[in-house]
Symmetry: C2
Subunit: 222 residues, 2 copies
């Protein structure tokens, strides 16, 4: 067991060095970079399609799509008319900073203002791998259940924004918002929590306001 932990720490240490390099590159290019994470099927691609639709007339956006296999999400996103690069991890349960760097080289970085990274659908691995991003967004969908922050604490403790998605399905589930909010705030007092639905579009105005506030915040610090 000890050996395995050492190997993992070594790999994570190398990733941190790559992530710092990414951060420098993104700052140099004046890019706002957002890492979007969730379980499989929480609604990341649908959420990103709507987010891009609302932002693309005001910002120049590029997307890095991470999946174990296939390019179906990249194809869905590319229908919004913005540049997309697909990364297939070939088995790995997360993107790492060096994969993101290689993918970013295929985007027209000098022309972009926002890069969105859709991570591999997974509530465990992506939480450990810094990509050099400005914002970590985590989606949790109502059908997954309100116990997920207790069971996967690292993902929820490292999120900047938590989006509770598919809230149009609330009548069909026993999902306790007060309880989940209490648990998440215990792990992560500063997290912003927004309830959303890609069917009714509830929550999107609040999300876009929050995102623009964060984008401007990064610019202000420069």
């Amino acid at each position: 067991m000890v050996e395995r932990v050492d190997i993992k720490e070594n790999i994570l240490g190398k990733n941190e060095a790559f992530a710092i390099e990414n951060k420098r590159l993104f700052e140099e290019k004046k890019l706002f970079v957002m890492n979007v994470m969730s379980s499989p099927g929480a609604g990341k691609t649908t959420f990103l399609t709507e987010t891009i639709k609302r932002l693309k007339d005001r910002y120049k956006i590029g997307v890095i799509e991470g999946d174990v296999a296939s390019k179906i999400d990249a194809e869905r996103i590319s229908r919004t008319g913005i540049p997309v690069v697909q990364v297939n991890t070939g088995g790995a349960c997360h993107l790492d900073a060096s994969m993101v760097r290689k993918a970013a080289e295929h985007l027209p970085l000098d022309e972009l203002e926002i890069v969105i990274i859709e991570n591999v659908g997974n509530l465990v691995c992506p939480a450990e791998w810094s990509l050099g991003e400005n914002l970590k967004v985590v989606l949790l969908s109502v059908p997954e259940g309100d116990d997920k922050p207790i069971k996967y604490p690292l993902m929820f403790s490292s999120a900047d924004v938590l989006l509770i998605t598919k809230i149009d399905l609330l009548p069909h589930f026993n999902f306790n918002f007060k309880e989940i909010e209490k648990v998440v705030r215990g792990l992560n007092p500063s997290v912003k929590i927004i309830k959303m639905s890609s069917v009714t579009l509830e929550g999107y105005d609040e999300w876009i306001d929050e995102l623009e506030r964060r984008i401007k915040g990064v610019s202000c610090r420069e």
Copy 2:
């Protein structure tokens, strides 16, 4: 990248050796061992609670619960009155064969006939880690979407039984059974696919029949 692959193969190789030892132990104790895998929130614990309820008067069952953190699933299962051991992986996205071995030592193996392992909620990692089990059961819930087998092929290609869960929610989703069946059969021609709901209990009779057939099949070969 080459270095990382080598490390991973080395760790997986050690796991295979532990899995073979587990298999020997389980055969010696005449145990049927089932590894249950899915995304977070696909309904594994609810499914297992109902399965145990239907089997516990005929078989002596023990459960190994795998989670990154918390013991809430173990507490839910223990309300069925059967012995449960919780394994917290402390960050790892899957159980491995040595974790299962250590957990099994805390169960009364000589008195049991079935051991159910509820793996960490994850569609990527658990697929790679053999535990020495007799049966791999994968759950995919309707709200996750019908594109998951294309995006996470290893999990679906290694399943013995695929349970499509939460089918009571079908009216709210665009979920194509024919398409998913075609994709899964392309990856895995011999997989048994059953549609289920823990609300209406549709599919449970078929699942219990299938499971008992498998349990008896293992006994016959001895």
